[in-house]
Structures are given as C-alpha cells and as structure tokens.
C-alpha cells in the first residue's frame, strides 16, 4: 500500500504548472487535495513519474461573481469551504448542501471541486450536481485559456477533455434566480461512500431552465435539458406528481443501462430529487 516513487514539484504560477504537465516523456499528474488520487497512488493504480502540486497557485483559490450571472469557483476550493458557505445565494445553497454530503469532513477538508471534476468518477456528486446547474469549466493550457461546457469536459468514466499541459482552473456556475428550486438525491449503502445512483434537478423558470440529471451511471451523467414533463406539478409545489412513465421513457431513450435493479435505483433517485422541488 505504498505508491511508486515519484518526483514532486510545487509551482507558484499556472504557466509553470502547465509547463511541467506538458512533458511528453513523463507521466505527470496534477495534485490538488489528493483525496481521489491518494488512494489510487497507494494502490498503485496510478504510477506517475511526477506529481505537480497545484495548491499554492493563488488563482485557483478564487470565488468571484461575474456580473451577477455566473459564480466562478477556483479549482482548489475545498468541499468543506463550499459546505461552510463560501458561495453566496441560492446557488450557494445547493452547492453547500451537495458539498456537505461528499464523503466525510476529513476528506472534504482537502478534497477540491476541481480535483473531483478532473478525476471524473461517474459516481461523484459534483459531476452530477454541476451538470444539473449547467456549469462550464475554465481550462488553462500552453495555448491560453478556453471554456468548455461540463458535458464537453467529462467525456466518460474517469475521462476528461484535458489536453497535455492543461490544468482545470475554475468552474463557472450560472447563478440561480431567487425563485429557482432544486433537488438532489443519492443512494449510498453507507453514508459518505460513492453513490449507486444520483438524481439531480434544477427548475429555474425565470431563466428557462428545467433540467434533470441521472448520475452515477457507467459513464458521464445523462442530462435531460428539457425535463418539465417529468416534474409534473412538483415544480409548483405538487409533491408526488413525478411522472414515472415519462421519466422511464426518457431514461431508456438516453441509453441508461436497462438492468432492472440499476434502472430502478436510478429512476427512484430521480423521483426523490423531483420530490424535493
């Protein structure tokens, strides 16, 4: 249970980190909180030549509102900081609630939002929650900065669209209207473990958003951009009006694994998320 020997660098700027990660001769991995990478290193599932610790780069610690439309969260912001309310407003409310359910406080104290997204475990909370919020990621690389929708970034299980030398710099989360409603439900057999199924829904009529996400799939989450049909009257306070048949059809059409247990547990997670609207 000891990692292979690796080198370690701790750059102070994004450009320096990108330069270290761009090497074609070495397997270099960025290290933030290390709460996913750490176990994989200990089990030697990852055997890097170099770890690039990005936690001392000041830009990665920002939380900034952009014209009251988007809040930009630096990649090194920890789950615990989000749980404790470092993002304001309704958007901060959903983020804090989801953050508080990730693993355990000792993990949340080091684990970061950027690290979780870049690791892209399908069962991770942020992958589903941020997809439901319609978030984007900001990537910094040798060619400068680019922005991708989350759906274009998380391309599969543990697979993201980072090019050589690129670092996930920040997550851009649209700010919800004051009237927005949301729901997030995950099935875990034990508190704090990775989810078996996740349902996440965001209903923000003022911004024309009625999105549902089925998470903890075998790959990237299934995003239903127009999910009003399954909300029924839930969005206006009519609890228990989840349209099971409509949801099943949409989930089948989206290609969710039809295994009876797998399908059912995801359907019920979605139902319970809708019930929270």
């Amino acid at each position: 249970m000891k990692p292979v020997a690796f080198d370690y660098e701790r750059p102070r700027t994004l450009n320096a980190a990108c330069a270290l990660l761009a090497s074609e001769d070495l397997l270099a991995k960025p290290l933030a909180g290390g709460q996913s990478l750490g176990p994989m290193l200990n089990m030697r599932l990852v055997q890097p030549d170099l770890l690039v610790d990005i936690t001392r780069i000041p830009e990665l610690w920002r939380v900034e509102e952009d014209k009251s439309v988007v809040v930009e969260i630096g990649a090194c912001i920890t789950h615990a900081a989000i749980e404790d309310g470092c993002v304001p407003g309704v958007t901060g409310g959903i983020l804090a609630s989801v953050a508080g359910g990730i693993a355990y406080r000792a993990v949340r104290n080091r684990g970061t939002i950027g690290g979780s997204l870049a690791h892209a475990d399908p069962a991770a909370d942020w992958v589903a929650c941020l997809a439901a919020l319609g978030a984007e990621v900001v990537l910094h690389g040798p060619a400068g900065q680019r922005t991708l929708p989350l759906g274009g970034f998380v391309v599969g299980a543990l697979e993201v669209a980072l090019e050589a030398g690129e670092v996930l710099e920040a997550v851009r989360v649209p700010i919800l209207s004051p009237n927005a409603r949301w729901g997030f439900y995950k099935f875990c057999r034990k508190t704090g473990e990775f989810a078996e199924a996740i349902g996440a829904v965001v209903h923000d009529p003022d911004r024309g958003v009625a999105r549902a996400v089925i998470g903890a799939t075998h790959s990237r989450p299934i995003v239903l951009e127009e999910a009003s049909v399954i909300f029924g009257t839930a969005a206006s306070g009519g609890r228990g009006s989840f349209d099971r048949n409509a949801a099943s059809e949409l989930m089948k059409a989206a290609g969710l694994d039809p295994d009876p247990y797998f399908f059912q547990v995801h359907l019920v997670a979605l139902e319970r998320a809708v019930d929270q609207l």
Partner: protein
C-alpha cells in the same frame, strides 16, 4: 527521485526534514518522529484511523503526502494531551465504554473534537453521520455516540448555566 526538504510544526515544535515525495504524512510521523499514536488501518482514506489535524482541520494522513504539508501546522493525538475538549472526550470515552481495542480511538477522538467544536447542537443522528468516516469494529458505535453526546450536553449546559440553572446536573462534568 530526489528527496524534498520539508518544514512544518508538529505538536507546536518546528521540524525540518528531507522526505521522499511518496511518503504519506502518517508514515512520516510514525517512522521518523515516532509519533505512533496516529494509526494506519486501510491506507486508502476509508477507515479514518489516521485522522489528525493539519492547520487545525481534520484530515486523513494516509492520503496526504508529507511533502504537500510544507509550512503546515500538524497536531497528532499526542499533541492534544492538554486540550480541554480532548480531556473531556477522553473522560467521556472511558465512562461510556467508547473503545475496546483502541485502534480506531485516536482518529475517533480527532473527529469527535471536530464535531464538538463545529456542531455544538448536533444530536445523535447527526453525530452518527459525522462519525461515519471512522470505522470501529469493536463497540458497535453506541458508546462512542453517547460519549460525544455527553460532552456536547455538558458544554451546552455550561453555556446556558444561569438561564436554566442546574440543567446539566445529570450529564456530569466535562
């Protein structure tokens, strides 16, 4: 793979060392500082036995590399002998039979102290959720939950003493 220099405070004392980057914080403390109160159970961040404080916050020292803690202040269970909350927790753990073999206890105490400080109003279900990242294979957790409840109740009693005089009389000293 070159060793890296590391400076940190361990239980209040400044320490300089050369470390291999792959050495995690728990091995560094146990093997080079002989601070064996930090226990290693799973070495994959699941069991919680290795939980200690880095800059005042509980972290898993088996998935935290020592080199990444350069400049940090580390407190292990050995460094909390004189901490008031830890004294109260130790007494409560004894009174409530919150340990048997003791392997999980250092991590349990660090987590319990965090609950007491951060969540003064936690009830038993909340304490269970917060403790869910620390595994105990002896006690069945009942005694541990009661011990944390006992310390929280005593502190609440002390705070409201005067408003509701004597309300803490049944929960004992902590």
């Amino acid at each position: 793979m070159s060793a890296k220099s590391l400076e940190m405070k361990i239980n209040g004392a400044p320490v300089s060392a050369q470390v291999e980057p792959r050495q995690h914080l728990a091995d560094f403390l146990r093997e080079t500082r002989l601070l064996t109160g930090t226990h290693l159970g799973c070495e994959q961040g699941v069991c919680g036995a290795c939980t200690l404080l880095v800059d005042g916050k509980p972290v898993r020292s088996c998935i935290t590399f020592a080199v990444a803690c350069d400049g940090a202040e580390v407190q292990t269970i050995e460094g909390l002998d004189d901490d008031d909350i830890m004294k109260a927790l130790r007494a409560a753990f004894s009174a409530e039979h919150a340990l048997q073999c003791g392997y999980c206890t250092p991590g349990m105490l660090i987590t319990a102290r965090d609950i007491v400080l951060r969540l003064p109003d936690a009830d038993a279900p909340r304490i269970r959720v917060e403790l869910s990242g620390n595994l105990c294979r002896c006690t069945g957790y009942v005694g541990i939950v009661r011990a944390v409840e006992r310390v929280l109740a005593a502190r609440r009693g002390r705070e409201s003493d005067g408003a509701i005089r004597g309300s803490a009389a049944t929960v004992g000293e902590a």
